[in-house]
């Protein structure tokens, strides 16, 4: 078995501790300025990465984050585990019952806030691929167009929930409509994205499009019906007969990794397995509040900073900043999402102002967009300038969502 050398282990531990401590300091500073925590983590990545530290002190950067040897492999493993965990907790908050419960207005809002940005993004990518430096060949163009449509239609449930909580709207009718619609967007968005990723995967044996669709739907259906039922039946036993809360923690994270391994094995990305396992687990009425909190704390405060800091380590944000792409992505993101969600809410019976509040509330993309962009970048689906544009869009939509929403609520 290959082992990390003594010096490599020290470097690995140093780089992880640096990422955790510095990102926490920035997160706390950002909190005072009412900035999303993910912003602080991204800034730390930019400071510690090639953009700043690599420029000022290449030796320190090379020492902390070496490009050769076993350390980058170990870090890559940790980052992959981080994204799997992040998708698991994202799934844990998706309650499909809430969409059904909210009825017509949530269904209209979620469908329109998905369909309009998706087709806006798809159409722009399909008809003007040269803007994004995408080849005009049918295959790559289709995959990019599918990805771009998905990237514009996804929402960021945790950011939206936080905004609603700060505005005291979390348990109101308008808040519930936004939350339910964002949940539905996330589910469909990650299903489509998994399809795009599995079709992009050049390392694995290729399945036909319809087989991939069938596998994804089959797995989703199985986990959300039979899998969910099994988890629901066994959770009370886990929570009373096993050590508390260790038992439920080990089993839940184990199920997440097992499910992720399964989807990766059938050539669908591991993230889908983690996300769907999260839904099956988090939707159970038997999952105790404390267990849910512990899982969230563990993932949000250990894996999330590592993942978001790692983004800045991989990409030079100054070199890859393309104002045209940033502007196009921003305009499309705002127009598609706000228009779609507002129209859906209005058709669902909400007043004009409340529909606009829903539209801007749904516009926050936050961490989910950044995860999506990172995975697409790693898969070679998008270039670094597009990735940078997506990150900027995610941050701007998250920062503007609350204040604009407030204008329509007041």
């Amino acid at each position: 078995m290959v082992k990390l050398a003594h010096s490599e282990l020290i470097v690995l531990l140093l780089s992880i501790s640096t990422m955790l401590i510095v990102s926490r300091i920035f997160a706390e500073l950002g909190k005072r300025l009412k900035l999303p925590i993910v912003m602080g983590e991204l800034i730390v990545g930019i400071i510690l990465g090639p953009t700043i530290l690599g420029l000022i002190s290449p030796d320190v950067f090379g020492f902390l984050f070496p490009r050769t040897g076993n350390v980058p492999i170990a870090l890559d493993g940790i980052f992959s585990l981080s994204v799997i965990m992040l998708l698991f907790v994202a799934g844990m908050e998706v309650q499909l019952s809430l969409v059904l419960k909210q009825g017509k207005v949530a269904i209209y809002t979620s469908v329109f806030s998905m369909v309009i940005p998706f087709f806006t993004g798809f159409a722009v990518a399909w008809f003007f691929p040269e803007i994004f430096s995408i080849s005009n060949e049918q295959g790559p163009k289709l995959l990019f167009a599918l990805f771009f449509g998905t990237a514009l239609s996804i929402s960021a449930l945790p950011v939206i929930a936080r905004i609603l909580m700060d505005m005291n709207l979390f348990k109101t009718n308008i808040g519930m409509v936004i939350i339910a619609s964002a949940m539905f967007n996330d589910l469909i968005g990650w299903l489509i994205f998994s399809l795009v990723l599995s079709l992009t995967n050049t390392q694995a044996e290729h399945l036909s499009l319809w087989y991939t669709v069938a596998y994804i739907l089959g797995f989703g259906l199985f986990m959300l019906t039979i899998g969910k039922k099994i988890i629901d039946k066994t959770l009370p036993w886990m929570q009373t007969k096993l050590s508390w809360p260790g038992g439920v923690l080990s089993i839940s994270l184990g199920i997440c990794l097992l499910s992720a391994a399964f989807t990766e094995a059938i050539n669908i990305h591991a993230i889908l397995g983690a996300f769907i396992a999260g839904i099956a687990f988090g939707d159970s009425v038997h999952l105790r509040e404390q267990a849910r909190e512990i899982i969230h704390q563990f993932v949000t405060n250990f894996f999330a900073p590592l993942f978001f800091v790692s983004i800045g380590l991989k990409v030079n944000f100054i070199e890859n900043f393309n104002p045209l792409i940033v502007a196009i992505v921003l305009v499309l993101a705002f127009v598609g999402k706000v228009l779609g969600a507002t129209l859906g809410a209005r058709l669902g019976g909400m007043t004009r102002n409340h529909s606009l509040a829903v539209g801007f509330g749904m516009n926050a993309r936050g961490a989910m967009e950044i995860i999506l962009g990172t995975l697409a970048l790693n898969a070679g689906l998008i270039s670094k300038p597009i990735f940078v544009a997506l990150v900027i869009m995610a941050l701007i939509t998250s920062l503007t969502s609350g204040p604009i929403m407030k204008r329509f609520i007041d």
Partner: protein, 291 residues
């Protein structure tokens, strides 16, 4: 069908009570309970049987009525053939039934639950209040404890008032109004950047809001001579109140009628009343407020 008389009809008093007659082993017990309710409410009693009318069945029904102490002149009998759920619902509308009484198993096997039993499907679709009796006995049941939902919904005030109306007639001593607080989304919003006091404060505010909402609701209710308690329980709506009613050994759980048309998806991704129907914690009254 002229439904104008049904629209905006208040959820109480119960002027017409119907009971579905199935000739099952529990049939007589259900009829006995229906008689108790119709006597207490001063309502007319309607017996509905969906199926063919045969001499044997008529004889059997006469015997059941006789044993239940019901004179055939005290009730009206309707025999009709057709699909049970739709026919019962149609008859309830035509006869302006205020309360429909049905026998129901506490829990059904998985397949039957997903397909939907007659009692549960009627409960999902009925345009009148429905009383599901889980363990009817051949002697009239005694109701001591009611658990009533206090969720934030325009229907709730009618549900609470209906439960008080019934409680007075049945001499119920204790009513608990329960508001369910679903805190599942809190973990996600608080995990990253909230201090312990902030999290505590937000949780406290949510509980305070729920208590305030319950207080406001109760201000408009008349509950003289009944011991009324408020309770906030954490958990998903429908599941939390169902569990509370079971734990407290309530005699009757009173809930709002569903807001939307429920279908198979609502059973797979259960919410609200579907949690109650999945595992009836005790007798259940679903109040249809017609608002």
């Amino acid at each position: 069908m002229d439904l104008s008389k049904l629209k905006k009809r208040p959820s109480y008093p119960f002027e017409t009570i119907a009971v579905a007659v199935s000739f099952s082993s529990r049939c007589q017990s259900i009829i006995v309970q229906a008689k108790k309710f119709s006597d207490a409410c001063g309502a007319s009693l309607l017996l509905l049987h969906i199926g063919d009318k045969t001499q044997e069945k008529e004889q059997a029904l006469d015997e059941i009525l006789d044993k239940s102490g019901i004179n055939s002149s005290q009730c009206r009998l309707i025999w009709m053939e057709g699909e049970p759920v739709e026919t019962i619902l149609k008859l309830c509308k035509l006869n302006i039934v205020d309360l429909l009484i049905l026998g129901a198993l506490e829990k059904e096997n998985l397949l039957k639950f997903y397909i939907g039993s007659i009692a549960r499907n009627i409960s999902r679709k009925a345009k009148c209040s429905v009383l599901l009796l889980t363990n009817p006995t051949s002697t009239p049941l005694k109701f001591k404890k009611f658990v009533v939902n206090g969720v934030s919904n325009p229907k709730t005030i009618h549900t609470i008032n209906t439960s008080f109306y019934l409680a007075k007639l049945l001499n119920v001593k204790e009513i608990t109004i329960v508001n369910e607080l679903d805190t599942s989304g809190l973990a996600m919003t608080m995990a990253a950047d909230s201090t312990a006091p902030e999290t505590k404060e937000i949780k406290k505010n949510l509980i305070d809001d729920s208590e305030e909402m319950l207080k406001t609701l109760m201000e408009n209710c008349d509950f003289s001579n009944i011991n009324v308690n408020n309770k906030i329980v954490k958990g998903k709506q429908g599941y939390a109140i169902s569990k509370y009613a079971k734990d407290k050994k309530a005699d009757l759980l009173v809930v709002n009628s569903p807001d939307t048309n429920l279908n198979l998806f609502d059973r797979i991704f259960a919410h609200d009343i579907e949690y109650v129907l999945a595992d009836l914690p005790c007798n259940v009254l679903i109040v249809h407020s017609r608002v």
